[in-house]
């Protein structure tokens, strides 16, 4: 009987545990705390945080429980991540939620979304310099796009072994947008610039809204065909929304489909951060590079807005440049918040949504470009 107890005990988590699992469980709890108590991207951080708890229960290998064991339930769910299935479904939902009116009313703001993507390529160079292979450097650079699904999609295609750290880094920094961006925004803009008021956007007709996703899809995917899975679903979702006659499908896309995909993606990405495979030197470097990527993307957007002001007759508020990173809608909210700290009656949110949604398109194109150059 003693031998049976001993054998059972040797299969418990208490016996198999080592410090790496404990560290990851603590990080998972921090994610859950940030999501629930601080409201930092709760829809993402809570599933990922709980997934970290799921993935870091020390288990006896061979029972078919772990996410990296080919016969486990978690492994089947993780298939949607490794094969890049969940990100396009999330993009479908994002498309069905997004209103491109402000972008259509002032298309010049789209350039801010393009400028912010420079952070991706600058970080790509940084990652190469730190010794990462080109495909890994591409996946790390895309963190600067501040778009979790895009980062996961590209990593699944180019560097599947880095999905865990890159996904966690991408979502962590997306959640920390209100902490990371404001100091950079204040550092790179003067008070006078932050006080600039945006002119009222023109009225956008229904026809324009319906035509936009079709034109955007055709143009961007002819230019960067590898962006097809992401941009195709984004534009399709938006067409469902704007067509009105497909309202039922749009409602399904922006509620049931995106919620299901988010739960499965968050939980399995969290579960993929098993301490023994996650806590490595390269994960630390990925986190450092991810932070740099995010900061550079924000700075590029801000500086490009200032550059545009040298040529524009009607000046734009350079804070909008920070919304060029595609953390929708958090970075637009941060722009609104920082703008209102200087002038409580200055309403920048709607204007900031333009570079914000163009950042989504820009980061999907950037992912497509990197995929086609590295694959």
């Amino acid at each position: 009987m003693d031998a049976l107890f001993l054998e059972f005990f040797q299969n418990t988590g208490f016996y198999l545990c080592d410090y790496r699992y404990i560290i990851m469980i603590i990080i998972g709890c921090i994610f859950i705390y940030l999501g629930i108590a601080k409201h930092y991207e709760p829809l993402l951080l809570v599933p990922i945080g709980f997934g970290m708890l799921v993935g870091n229960i020390p288990i006896f290998k061979g029972l078919g429980l772990g996410i990296y064991e080919s016969n486990s339930v978690l492994h089947y769910l993780y298939f949607g991540v490794t094969q890049g299935i969940y990100p396009p479904l999330i993009f479908l939902g994002i498309g069905a939620m997004t209103d491109f009116s402000t972008l259509l009313a002032r298309p010049v703001l789209m350039l801010l979304g393009a400028a912010a993507q420079a952070g991706i390529f600058i970080t790509f160079i940084g990652a190469l310099a730190l010794g990462f292979a080109p495909n890994e450097a591409s996946a790390i650079g895309i963190i600067g796009g501040a778009d979790g699904p895009t980062a996961i999609f590209l990593t699944a295609k180019l560097a599947p072994r880095l999905i865990g750290p890159i996904a966690v880094a991408a979502y962590s920094y997306m959640a920390l947008v209100p902490v990371i961006q404001p100091p950079i925004m204040k550092l790179l803009t003067s008070r006078e610039e932050r006080l600039i008021r945006m002119e009222e956007p023109r009225e956008v007709s229904k026809k324009e809204k319906v035509i936009f996703p079709i034109v955007a899809f055709l143009l961007c995917c002819f230019l960067a065909p590898a962006a097809l899975p992401l941009l195709g679903m984004l534009c399709f979702g938006n067409l469902l929304k704007e067509a009105v006659v497909t309202e039922r499908l749009a409602v399904a896309a922006r509620n049931a489909i995106i919620d299901t995909a988010t739960i499965l993606l968050g939980l399995t990405v969290g579960a993929s951060t098993q301490g023994d495979v996650f806590l490595t030197g390269s994960s630390v470097r990925i986190f450092v590079l991810g932070a740099c990527s995010f900061a550079i993307a924000t700075a590029c957007g801000l500086l490009f807005a200032k550059l545009m002001n040298l040529f524009l007759k009607t000046k734009i508020n350079p804070l909008l440049g920070a919304a060029g990173v595609s953390a929708v809608p958090d970075s637009a909210r941060v722009v609104q918040h920082v703008g209102q700290q200087e002038d409580p009656t200055n309403f920048l949110l709607m204007h900031a949504m333009a570079p914000n949604v163009s950042g989504v398109i820009g980061s999907a194109i950037a992912a497509g470009v990197l995929w086609s150059l590295m694959a």
């Binding site: 209103d99 790509f124 080109p134 009225e203």
Partner: protein, 146 residues
């Protein structure tokens, strides 16, 4: 391999430049197209408005003939959101700040608060008083809901 040597060996500079260029090109062309889109649609729906395409014997359309400004159409869900906004606006002063109403809507879990607020402003249901405050236009609201 590390540093500049690694960047050089993996053609890093060229990849970065090509990548940035493609992203910029894509978004610049897209922005150019959509900046002209409303003009093209306007032309298709009313070619006589454009000097070049107007027959020589036709007088330019006077102001009375110009189409009335299009009032955005509301879906069922948007009407419901408009009703929610009306209830929220009633909790405020007659003249209120837009961010305050938006904040209330966000806290109350109104569906797509920013987009729907914009829709109400465009439809004239919420009108600016010219001094930074906004008012609820009940007549415009009734017209849309009915």
């Amino acid at each position: 391999m590390y540093g500049l040597e690694a960047i050089q060996a993996h053609n890093g500079w060229a990849v970065a430049v090509v990548g940035i260029t493609i992203v910029f090109t894509g978004l610049v062309v897209l922005s150019l197209i959509i900046s002209q889109l409303h003009k093209v649609l306007d032309f298709i729906s009313n070619p006589n408005k454009f000097e070049v395409f107007r027959p020589a014997n036709v007088e330019p359309a006077d102001k009375k003939d110009e189409p009335v400004e299009e009032v955005p159409s509301f879906t069922g869900a948007q009407m419901e959101t408009a009703r929610q906004y009306r209830m929220l606006a009633r909790t405020l002063e007659d003249e209120f700040l837009l961010p305050k109403l938006l904040n209330l809507a966000v806290i109350s879990g109104v569906d797509k608060p920013h987009a729907n607020l914009g829709l109400l402003v465009r439809a004239g249901v919420i009108t600016p008083d010219g001094q930074g405050f906004f008012q609820w236009n009940q007549d415009a609201f009734d017209r849309i809901i009915s």
